[in-house]
Amino acid sequence: MIVLPEDQAKQRIAWRIAQEFNRTECPLFINLGVGIPTMVADYINNDQVFIQAENGMLGLGPAAEEGKKDPMLINAGRIPITETPGCSFFDSCTSFGMIRGGHVDATVIGAFEVDQEGNVANWIIPNGKQLGVGGAMDLVAGAKKVYIAMTHTTKKGAPKIIPSCTLPVTGYREVDVIVTEFALFRFLEGRMFLEEIAPEVSLEELREMTTAQFIVAGDLKTYPVP
């Protein structure tokens, strides 16, 4: 099985998702989860894309440089960030009002598992060591589009895009797009389409690491790599 170095895989995923947003001509409001999703910001190059953080800010700038970190200016992953001109601060209730009310165009989140129905499990592995849901369920239920940013398989090579989630689900039929280092899947009317496949994997190889059923799009494209 083909494996990319983890850093390369993550960068590729973050870059690919950024392209989805960079093409906008209108203001686009996105919320980025912890991990790969946070890296998406590094590849945004369109000033019409605005980042929202659920702890109460719109218009996040890049991570703060060493020596300029303000512990009272953080994103939802507790990383010190910066302001952009035109940013604003608000309380948690208003912030989740934006999210639940459908004003946030897209959320990018990591996941343990996604299934062919568009269900996603990303909040807990029931091992007795975790107790936390945070804003995951609100984001998945509220954002207009849900993007999953994750490596195609676990570190041990087990598929993460599967027929039916085995872990506790975060939201049902909420996933719109899955981006891994090898593929981009899009859900249309409840069905999962493979739209892009990376140059180094064959369709057969992709099926081996993807136990979920999917439809190959009529105009299957090569996954663009930066």
Partner: protein, 225 residues
């Protein structure tokens, strides 16, 4: 400066937390160590007041910030959203020492606000069908399913603001705002820790975030620290 001020709500942190009765439900502001009322939390830990139900986003880190209350054994239960930053929470829960009610973060914020504005319950699309919503009533509106969430009211709220004026109007600082203005509405007794108290009329009436009607006690951290 404090001596010139005519702030009737001003108290020491010790006197303020001594207003909290054992067994109280206590809302505490903050998110990931930003915007938590650190002096009030320290005073609460020193007070030894116990059997508390802490309602907050998270519980800080082990033996740090809010985490100290758990280490001290002052906690009966937790209502909040995210305890993965403090692994002691899961341990205490698994050992049956505390109860934990996990609520999605947006639902938590909205339920606290609901308590503050006299709404006993509302419907939300968040968590429908998930383990978090198990046992909760659901209902359809316009063909979509929602969960019924009741308001989360508290006896006391400990919040952190940036500045207060003499009356108790509050403004906040950047992402330290988070849950604080919401919690300021939702408790019978609201204690605000602030970095500075300014004379009446020194805050822009258009920019006051928490009007003083919501604030009972002010602890001036600027003088204490």
């Amino acid at each position: 400066m404090g001596s010139e001020l005519r702030c009737k709500k001003l108290m020491s942190k010790e006197a303020a937390v001594n207003l909290i009765k054992p067994g109280s439900r206590v809302l505490i502001g903050g998110f990931g160590n930003a915007g938590d009322p650190k002096l009030l939390i320290d005073a609460l830990c020193s007070s030894g007041i116990g059997d508390l139900v802490i309602m907050s986003n998270d519980l800080g880190s082990p033996n740090e910030g809010l985490g100290k209350l758990l280490t001290n054994g002052q906690v009966r239960g937790l209502i909040g959203t995210y305890y993965n930053w403090n692994p002691e929470v899961a341990i205490a829960y698994n050992e049956g020492r505390i109860f934990v009610d996990l609520v999605p973060q947006g639902t938590f914020a909205e339920a606290v606000r609901a308590a503050g504005v006299g709404i006993p319950a509302f419907y939300t699309p968040t968590a429908v069908g998930t383990e978090i919503a198990k046992g909760k009533e659901t209902r359809e509106f316009n063909g979509k399913t929602y969960v019924l969430q009741e308001a989360l009211k508290a006896d006391v709220a400990l919040i952190k603001a940036y500045k207060a004026d003499e009356l108790g109007n509050l403004v906040y600082y950047k992402t330290a705002r988070n849950f604080n203005p919401v919690m300021a509405m939702a408790a019978d007794l609201v204690i605000a820790e602030v970095d500075e108290v300014v004379p009446r009329g020194c805050l822009d009436p258009e920019c006051v975030v928490t009007p003083h009607i919501f604030v009972d006690v002010i602890v001036n951290g600027g003088e204490l620290s």
